[in-house]
Symmetry: C2
Subunit: 234 residues, 2 copies
Amino acid sequence: MSRPEPPSRFRAVKAEILRRVRARDWAPGDLLPAETELAAEFGCARATVNRAMRELAEAGVLDRKRRAGTRVSTAPVRPARFDIPQTRAEVEQTGATYAYRLLRREEVVAPDWLARLWALPETAAVAHVEALHLADGRPWQFEDRWINLAVVPAASEEDFKTVGPNEWLIAALPFSEAEMVFSAASADAALAHALGLAGGDPIFRAERTTWLEGQPVTYARLSYPSTYRMTTRL
Amino acid sequence: MSRPEPPSRFRAVKAEILRRVRARDWAPGDLLPAETELAAEFGCARATVNRAMRELAEAGVLDRKRRAGTRVSTAPVRPARFDIPQTRAEVEQTGATYAYRLLRREEVVAPDWLARLWALPETAAVAHVEALHLADGRPWQFEDRWINLAVVPAASEEDFKTVGPNEWLIAALPFSEAEMVFSAASADAALAHALGLAGGDPIFRAERTTWLEGQPVTYARLSYPSTYRMTTRL
DNA sequence: GCCTCCGATATGTCTAGACATATTAATCAT
DNA sequence: ATGATTAATATGTCTAGACATATCGGAGGC
């Protein structure tokens, strides 16, 4: 999981501040001493206290404003972090053998809902790929992928027979911006067949839209059997 | 959403490095120049470059190791961040009116599965609460909550008739550690009835376990109708 | 060849000091 | 009172320099 962080001055300060918040020495809404005061108390430089408090603000524990000072957060929004792995790596990490199967590959004019989602002209060409990812031979994820050929023309050259579109896109356009939406749905006939489920079985669904410099690159609808679990720690 | 960050030297450096990574000046796996070299190139202090690179490493773009230097990340794990709001705030943000309804409240000996999950003795006392959260009168979330009375004895005094257990716990024990698991399931009869669904309808499920200094505080199973969507940007 | 030791090196952290900037609180003019 | 101006202040950022530490590569010994 997460390796233990090395000991350091600012981490000690951070831990002590968090301890006092949890112990209610400083209750939600309370004003904390200024950085200079805490630096004097802890016997370290202001920059060290600054880093500790900045990271606690990142974690949602503190609220900081110039001149107004630092308060214990009252807003009950806690940012959670979790890793979005590539499907292959995710499967292999469970110890299972990964396999990939292409089910469909076509180039079409963007359907209405996609053209609307991306604000594209009527005649925009897109690649549409349907594929199945398997763990030890059992269906793991059904991938329904749409690629904007205006932005990624190279996708026309790729047949996606051995490498999945997700993997290919990450290699072609790394570190683009993305938005993900998670939800639950029930399997229609086609999806149930592909995933080896019964019709109506629950599906864990992830939808991912990706942009490169403001331009829509790809939209993917990833469907998992309900045995799939996504975990995070905060 | 996210307010625009103020311009600053380290953000400009960060943006320029990210630009070069995206432009493949530095491809995945490539070694970047050392901090001192980049500091010389950008005409700023090493600490400024350090902050830029550190934040890019946090975002999963770079891999850094002492002595070995900094490389563009090849590991395709991108950390995503999203906010876990309190249910009340989440509902009210949609513009809807929030309502809360207590369905059950009891104190019992921890059932087997919970005692095992928490590694508790056989006779541990827990509070069990079932409640419904509504948006504009329509079921939004069903909350199935278990509280470890050994750690939070004050929960015995609370009847949870007007304030939900989640809200109460956050006020009582802010900033504790938590783990969340998201999955899909189908509604059993009781859940379907509570949420106003048909049996077998898909459910978006979040399970949350919370600790305070290593001790289990509470376990909650939150069930949403499949219209619920959880969104993140990375 | 193989192993151990050791020095070089890039990042990790820290300090003291400086200036920038948002925002509050006080002051002053109307 | 009310509104505009101004000073004070806490955080935000930056610099130059220092020492710590993990680790890579080579030198030397077997």
